[in-house]
């Protein structure tokens, strides 16, 4: 089943990534191949039981057969007019461009409003990521953002769910953004 053994570097990047993402209160799942990733996605949707999902279109999401998974979970899936749909959605799904091991973060070119709306307005954000895109450090990620003639108009790094400690410094998860960040890392998805 685990047909695509990852090189040791990717493996160690993932291990640190998963550890640090947990430190930042994100939930991390890993699928060793596309097939099990599809299963994992269905499991996650079943467990969440959303009525309405908003998703920013992406190649990996298509490969994971998101539309079918949403249907199986009995959820309405919206992929456009998200400005209208996202505020009332129970779950936002997007595909990230890379992960950062040392901070447990996920990052993406978020120039399309869709990618930002689905990851900010719904109470839960599911971020799908190719395991082999995880880079070791924040600095490397920033360098990547600047490749090809400078950063895109909007580039975002997300580390765990939205949080605040503004009242008596008591950490409270979920202020303006999602209460939960679920990350699904997929091996061998290219």
């Amino acid at each position: 089943m685990a047909n695509t053994a990852l090189d040791p570097k990717t493996e160690s990047n993932y291990r640190l990534f998963a550890q640090m993402a947990a430190v930042a209160s994100a939930e991390v799942h890993r699928a060793p191949d596309l097939g099990s990733a599809r299963e994992k996605l269905r499991e996650i949707l079943q467990a969440l039981g959303p009525r309405k999902i908003v998703a920013a279109p992406g190649e990996l999401l298509a490969k994971l057969e998101l539309a079918e998974a949403a249907q199986a979970a009995g959820a309405a899936l919206c992929t456009d007019k998200l400005r209208r749909h996202a505020p009332a959605a129970d779950l936002g799904i997007s595909q990230m461009d890379l992960g950062i091991a040392e901070t447990g973060s996920v990052a993406q070119n978020a120039t399309d409003t869709a990618s930002r709306l689905v990851s900010t307005l719904p109470p839960v954000h599911l971020a799908v990521l190719r395991t082999d895109t995880i880079v070791p450090t924040l600095r490397e990620a920033l360098a990547r953002a600047g490749e090809n003639g400078g950063p895109p108009p909007y580039w975002t790094i997300i580390t765990g769910p939205s949080r605040t400690a503004d009242i008596e410094r008591v950490l409270t998860i979920g202020v303006h953004g999602p209460y939960r960040l679920i990350i699904l890392a997929v091996d061998g998805a290219c």
Binding site: R84, L142, G150, P153, S162, D166, P178
Partner: protein, 739 residues
């Protein structure tokens, strides 16, 4: 609640004379919520910070940030132009605002032109600095802060009391009260519930606002990129939902290259909130896509207000330009013992704490900074933790000199410092007369008030010692006992000079004798040059640098004449003066610069000197038992010495039992404990509690000032703990061994 917010506002606005500052301090100290919140934070901050820096080289990171930001300061105009050109090329509109008025006017005009009447904001200190909300609201616009802390203080009409956590001074009960009023519904003081209320209330505002205003943490010249960092996600909504985004960013946030942001964002979340990274970090480079509620997509409008408002003036000021390295992490507030007591409404004006005092002097009318500078205790702790390596305490001293000149000191003290102390013979005659006139009482009697540090002697919560009947200088001159004071030296022995300083000379001569004994036991000829005066630190610290220069020259001459190979100090403050201040004070004086440097190079603190000299030798005759050690601010942070005294004491038979927070200030701070007894006292109380917690019957320190403060506190509480100078402990052992 209402009453309190009014009081807080009063403390911000009414700051025209020192008495107002005193009243503000008194009010802050009486506010138990404030003390509790800030105290708990101060205790929790450092351990969590240490954890997120695990495995990282802080010194190296600091050097990287220093380099990046120094280049910003050196090339401020060039980077501003480059940023402007590149951001424009990417489609942003850039406005270079020379001052607050211009920035506010631009944003108001833009809002009017676009028929905006409702604005959402994410946290921006620059917008606080220019009083943007007030300006827009006066013109009839509605502005909603969306950062939870900022929203809370907006609702109750206050100003931020911390640069990262604006509402840190308010309790959950107070927040519940504020929110209840806003939504007209009785709310319990349950934090998750309160946060949920904020989410619901502000969500509607995000969705309906026509303009979003944010600050930025970094602006990159080569790409025109803005970095915005938040935890709550409000900046992502502010920059995504409304069709217009206005960014206000100070010129000092510029960096040359995209990769220059790396070290800044490695340090900023770790220092600010002890996080590896905040929840959201966004890079905005030109306008991104926007979407209307109908689902039509278009391009956003992005306006960048690049704010000067005193920054270019600061960059041109050699004494203060380094302050522009600040990345607004608020580390300096988080470790400041004074901030922990009174918070940012008293210690600050928009920008708070140590760095806030300096920024306030430049980013505004500057008048508020005149009094704020006096609140710095000079403990140097902020400098140790600043990720940009800014010498905040030194800058505050420079501010004191420039803007205040000791104006908070009573007039008598001023005359004493400027006229009497600079005349050594007169000064010492006054001290001797005072010693004769006093009765041999100590407890509760401010008998050392004739020392430069004790003009008013108004100290509660500690006992003060009496002036010695025979000061060290007379004991040394008389050579009593003669065997111990070879005076001008014996043939074949190297001459070691001792710089005593006022406290050892006139209050604790026995510590001086212990130093001289040590020197003799180590095979040196101890020399006490009689021409030595006060080190001048209290003068410089009070803003009288001319008087400090006069005194520096007297001491340099005295030790040059004494012809010694080394100069020992047992007072870290004197050591800092001799080693660091003199070369700086006299750097531009061709006749004295080299002499100052020569003296500075000879100065060694007692513990380091003794430890080096005793290398490979055993001295302990019997175990001393448990000893706890208090690090003096100047010895540890200004001179970097903390290992040596502990090793020396261990060599002398001590079993070192560390107290919690051994390097937190004792609250003495020289004249500070006289000027602000109300602040000095609670800091001393914490120190006494920490000493007690160590459970050792003896506390050692290397500073006679700390010793005075700590002994006073221990005596006041009748605690069975003795406080001694390291030299007193070690000198006695060496003397008994050599005799």
């Amino acid at each position: 609640m209402k009453q309190q917010s009014q009081e807080s506002r009063a403390s911000i606005d009414k700051r025209n004379n020192p008495e107002d500052l005193r009243q503000a301090i008194r009010r802050a100290l009486a506010n138990q919520n404030l003390g509790g919140a800030l105290g708990r934070f101060a205790d929790a901050y450092l351990p969590s910070r240490e954890k997120v820096f695990e495995g990282r080289d802080f010194a190296k990171l600091r050097e990287e940030i220093r380099r990046v930001k120094q280049s910003t300061i050196d090339r401020l105009d060039e980077l501003a132009e480059q940023f402007t050109a590149n951001a424009r090329a990417r489609g942003a509109v850039v406005f270079r605002a020379p001052d607050a008025d211009a920035a506010c006017a631009y944003i108001l005009e833009l809002a009017r032109k676009k028929q905006v009447d409702f604005i959402v904001k994410s946290k921006s200190m620059a917008s606080e600095e220019i009083h943007l909300n007030k300006h827009l609201e006066k013109a009839g616009l509605t502005v909603a802060e969306t950062d939870l802390g900022e929203w809370i203080i907006q609702l109750c009409g206050q100003k931020p009391s911390h640069m990262v956590m604006p509402a840190i001074h308010l309790t959950r009960e107070e927040v519940a009260e504020i929110f209840s009023r806003e939504i007209k519904e009785r709310l319990e003081s349950d934090i998750p519930r309160l946060v949920k209320v904020a989410r619901e209330q502000l969500r509607q505002k995000f969705l309906t606002a026509q303009m979003g205003i944010s600050g930025a943490n970094v602006a990159v010249a080569e790409t025109g990129t803005l970095f915005i960092m938040t935890n709550e996600g409000n900046a992502r909504l502010v920059t995504t939902l409304p069709p217009i985004h206005v960014v206000i960013v100070g010129l000092e946030k510029l960096v040359a290259k995209l990769t220059d942001a790396g070290p800044i964002f490695e340090a900023l979340p770790r220092c600010a909130t002890a996080q590896h990274l905040t929840s959201y970090l966004s890079l905005i480079t030109g306008p991104a896509q926007a979407e209307t509620i109908e689902g039509e997509t278009g391009t956003k409008e992005l306006h960048i207000v690049l704010l000067d408002n005193g920054r270019r003036k600061m960059a041109a000021d050699p004494q203060f330009r380094d302050a522009l390295r600040c990345i607004r992490c608020a580390s300096c507030l988080n470790v400041c013992p004074v901030y922990a007591l009174i918070g940012g409404h008293v210690f600050g004006h928009i920008y708070t704490g140590g760095i806030g005092t300096i920024l306030t002097a430049f980013f505004g009318p500057g008048t508020e900074a005149a009094d704020l500078q006096a609140l710095c205790l000079g403990c140097q702790r902020c400098k140790e933790y600043c990720p940009a390596g800014i010498d905040i305490p030194q800058m505050i001293l420079d501010l004191r000199e420039r803007y205040a000149g000791g104006r908070l000191l009573p007039r008598g003290q001023k005359v004493f410092m400027e006229k009497i102390m600079t005349n050594r013979k007169l000064f010492h005659a006054v001290l001797k007369a005072a010693a004769r006139a006093q009765k041999p009482l100590t407890k509760g009697q401010p008998l050392v008030r004739h020392l430069p540090l004790f003009g008013r002697g108004l100290t509660e919560g500690r006992s003060l010692p009496a002036l010695a009947q025979t000061p060290l200088r007379e004991r040394a001159a008389a050579g009593t006992p003669s065997t111990r004071f070879p005076g001008r030296g014996e043939p074949g022995r190297a001459r070691a000079g001792f710089f005593a300083g006022c406290l050892i000379d006139f209050v604790y001569p026995e510590i001086g004798e212990a130093v001289l004994d040590t020197l003799a036991a180590l095979g040196y000829a101890p020399v006490f040059p009689p021409g030595q005066n006060c080190c001048g630190f209290p003068l410089e610290h009070a803003g009288f640098s001319d008087a400090a220069v006069k005194i520096a020259k007297q001491n340099i001459a005295a030790f040059a004449e004494a012809d010694v190979s080394v100069v020992i100090t047992a007072c870290p403050t004197c050591a800092v003066s001799l080693k660091k201040s003199y070369p700086r004070l006299l750097a531009d004086d061709p006749a004295w610069a080299k002499k100052a440097q020569d003296l500075a190079e000879k100065v060694v603190d007692y513990a380091s000197f003794a430890l080096t000299e005793l290398a490979g030798k055993k001295i302990a005759a019997a175990p001393l038992g448990p000893v706890t050690y208090h690090d003096s601010c100047h010895l540890k942070r200004s001179l970097g010495i903390f290992r040596e005294p502990r090793e020396l004491l261990a060599k002398a038979g001590a079993e070192i039992k560390e107290m919690p927070w051994s390097d937190r200030c004792c609250g003495f701070g020289g004249s500070y404990s006289i000027q602000f007894p109300e602040l000095s006292r609670p800091i001393l109380e914490q120190k006494i509690a920490n000493i007690t917690a160590a459970g050792a019957p003896l506390v050692a320190t290397d500073c006679p000032g700390c010793l005075l403060q700590i002994r006073g506190g221990l005596d006041y509480h009748d605690l069975p703990v003795r406080a001694e100078h390291t030299a007193g402990i070690v000198g006695e052992i060496l003397k008994s061994k050599s005799s």
